[in-house]
């Protein structure tokens, strides 16, 4: 990486870190979205091409970075489809496979965990996943014990490692060639959303709130250690980037404020607290309308959370109610990117810079993303207006934050299927350096368990 690109990368990253920390910075972040759907399609590739061909994905991102060199970060796309195909993952319909090649992927609602399986999930998640949930959600496991089902696990594992490599290449391309940091790395769902999205489904969880509320609470708590450990395994080891949390059922009016406080928030609070204690910040998409519930984010230490506010909610109100504690992203309606004019975009950016963002703590964005159908001239107007109206200081130059010290975990270590102690006993002891063998054994075991959780949603 050239010195100039390195310097640009560090400036952008420092600016992002300072913005999240609610510290002074030189200007507003430009293009600070966590989900740039527009960047996926801007270069003219279909959605299918982006999801299946990493070279096209990288080319699309490079083209976008070249045509919009002012942006401060870039993340487009979240699905590398071959891993889904390797195991026949049923929770998504994909462009070019189930849908027209240029249509968005879509989530398939379903009941993938039965109501009487809470006890098993809580007591023995490995058995729950291996024997019950995964055979339902992974089509290639249809005939248990067949060569095809064994190959599904092998291919899925191989695809998991390939995907990590592919994502590393993408991120390196953006960093080394374009000096662009990532808006996040690693992901975690709220425990309640784990149940509501890909386990019980929405219908199921709503019934459970009334028919087995204690089980819902117990399961949410039981999910925390594994969710946190698996999230940390995919997060940035240098702790530069926030961990991403797309939050779904905290959206009003799915739950009453009482139900939110009783069922959704407690386990979310505990899980996020653990991520913060581990030295990370968190970028949470408050999808939908969180107005009655967002005040809970004030419970966290100041400057550790970035909340994306969706179009349905009023970002000015968010600023008043939580903006002194958390950084906000949002403010530009998606339909303005899609239907609006550059003049409307400029006017909206100006208004936000002069109000919600005037003292910092705001990253201009659409509703948790930049829409696919954004008009290029509107994106250009958004960038130019942010640069024009979003200046704070000529003298402040944020500095990169030092990596926090290693974390002494307050939760059980990452779950494994076969602990080293069992394996060692089977060996009958080892003749040489045990640590050389143990380290890799444990690492593979821990990643294997997290592979089982990869299919949560």
């Amino acid at each position: 990486m050239s010195d100039e690109i390195q310097q640009r990368f560090e400036e952008r990253l420092a600016r992002y870190q300072a913005t999240i920390a609610l510290e002074p910075t030189d200007r507003m972040i430009v293009g600070g979205t966590g989900s740039n759907y527009f960047a996926e399609v801007y270069a003219g590739y279909t959605r299918q091409e982006i999801m299946y061909d990493i070279n096209k994905w990288m080319a699309a991102e490079s083209k976008f970075a070249e045509d919009f060199p002012e942006i401060d970060m870039l993340r487009s796309g979240r699905i590398w489809a071959p891993i889904f195909d390797s195991v026949g993952f049923k929770l998504y319909r994909l462009p070019g496979r189930d849908l027209p090649a240029n249509t968005d992927f879509q989530f398939v609602e379903g009941e993938w965990m039965k109501a009487d399986e809470y006890g098993l999930l809580i007591r023995n998640p490995i058995e729950f996943l291996m024997e019950h949930r995964l055979p339902r959600v992974l089509g290639e496991l249809k005939e248990r014990g067949s060569a095809r089902s064994y190959m599904a696990f092998l291919k899925g594992g191989m695809a998991y490692m390939l995907m990590a490599q592919v994502m590393r290449e993408r991120v390196q391309n953006l960093e080394k060639k374009h000096g662009l940091p990532q808006p996040s790395q690693g992901v975690m769902l709220a425990p309640f959303d784990t149940l509501a999205d890909g386990y019980r489904g929405l219908q199921g969880i709503m019934i459970d709130l009334f028919e087995r509320p204690d089980k819902v609470l117990e399961a949410c708590d039981a999910l925390i250690p594994d969710s946190v450990n698996c999230s940390l395994m995919t997060a940035d080891p240098l702790k530069r980037y926030p961990i991403f949390m797309p939050l779904h059922r905290g959206n009003h009016p799915f739950l009453s404020p009482k139900q939110f406080e009783a069922f959704y928030w407690p386990s979310l609070f505990k899980a996020v607290t653990l991520l913060l204690e581990a030295g990370y910040t968190v970028r949470a998409y408050l999808e939908g309308d969180w107005t009655p519930n967002w005040h809970h984010w004030n419970q966290f230490p100041k400057g550790k959370i970035l909340c994306d506010i969706d179009n349905k909610a009023d970002i000015s109100r968010a600023k008043k109610e939580i903006g002194n504690n958390v950084c906000l992203a949002g403010g530009i309606p998606d339909r303005m990117f899609i239907f609006g004019t550059p003049e409307e975009i400029r006017s909206r950016v100006k208004e936000l810079c002069e109000t919600v963002g005037k003292d910092g703590g705001l990253i201009l964005n659409g509703g948790c993303g930049i829409p696919y159908s954004t008009k290029p001239e509107n994106f250009r107007a958004y960038i130019d207006a942010t640069l024009g109206y979003g200046k704070y200081s000529d003298t402040v130059k944020p500095k990169l934050k030092k990596a926090p010290p290693p974390w002494v975990a307050k939760i059980p270590p990452p779950r494994v299927i076969t602990p080293w102690e069992v394996k060692l006993k089977e060996f009958g002891g080892v003749t040489g350096d045990e640590t050389l063998i143990k380290g890799i054994w444990q690492m593979l075991e821990q990643r294997a368990f997290c592979w089982l959780r990869f299919w949560d949603w």
Binding site: F254, S256, F339
Partner: protein, 212 residues
């Protein structure tokens, strides 16, 4: 408003076992199943009103629908043929082509049925031509278009254009709803109404049919 019966009140209170017990008791005493359904519908209307006043939320709406669904499964085999005839003002509703999300739409369908409408639920990923055909076939004066994804805006506009193309645009009012929609989207698409939420959607349908 008329006092709710104990059955309707049990449904409003989301007391599934009590609802089941009262239904069995009614059946033992020879009450026609359709009369039991009418009582329960009164309860569902009250649930809808509590949702409208933010006393109940989607959780309560879905659970009450769940109780109703189980009761209907119990009662439907007992209905006479004539009991099943459908009446009421017609609302055609569906999620537009390119979008397969239907949670919000299904909530609207429940509330519309409770309010006495005859609902033709076209499902999800519905092409514009099918909406137009159904409007022509049924003479429905209200068409509800739902989406969760903003890529559906184009398709919603396509539905309105298709209605114009086949010459029935002025026979039907188009209502849009769904997470990414708002008044400006309505304007751009050329729809007649934007429904902020399910309750607003039901009110709009009532207003449409109240017009000459």
């Amino acid at each position: 408003m008329a006092q709710l019966t104990d059955l309707a009140q049990a449904l409003v209170n989301l007391e599934k076992e009590r609802v089941n017990a009262i239904v069995e008791d009614r059946l033992k005493r020879g009450m026609p199943p359709l009369d039991i359904v009418k009582e329960l519908n009164e309860g569902m209307i009250e649930v809808g009103e509590r949702f409208a006043s933010c006393e109940y939320f989607i959780s309560e709406l879905m659970y009450s629908s769940h109780i109703m669904k189980e009761i209907m499964a119990r009662l439907e085999p007992l209905f006479g043929q004539t009991d099943l005839s459908e009446s009421g003002n017609i609302v055609v509703i569906g999620t537009v082509k390119g979008d397969i999300h239907d949670i919000g739409k299904n909530i609207v369908v429940t509330l519309l049925k409770n309010a006495g409408f005859r609902v033709i639920d076209m499902g999800v990923d519905v092409p514009a031509e099918r909406f137009a055909e159904k409007i022509k076939e049924t003479g429905a004066r209200a068409l509800g278009l739902s989406c969760l994804l903003n890529i559906a805006f184009q398709e919603m506009r396509n539905v309105v254009d298709t209605l114009k193309k086949v010459g029935i645009r002025d026979q039907v009012k188009v209502i849009i709803g769904g997470q990414p929609t708002d008044e400006k989207v309505r304007e751009h698409i050329g729809a007649d109404y934007y429904a902020f939420d399910a309750v607003a959607g039901v009110k709009i349908c009532k207003d449409i049919y109240a017009q000459r």
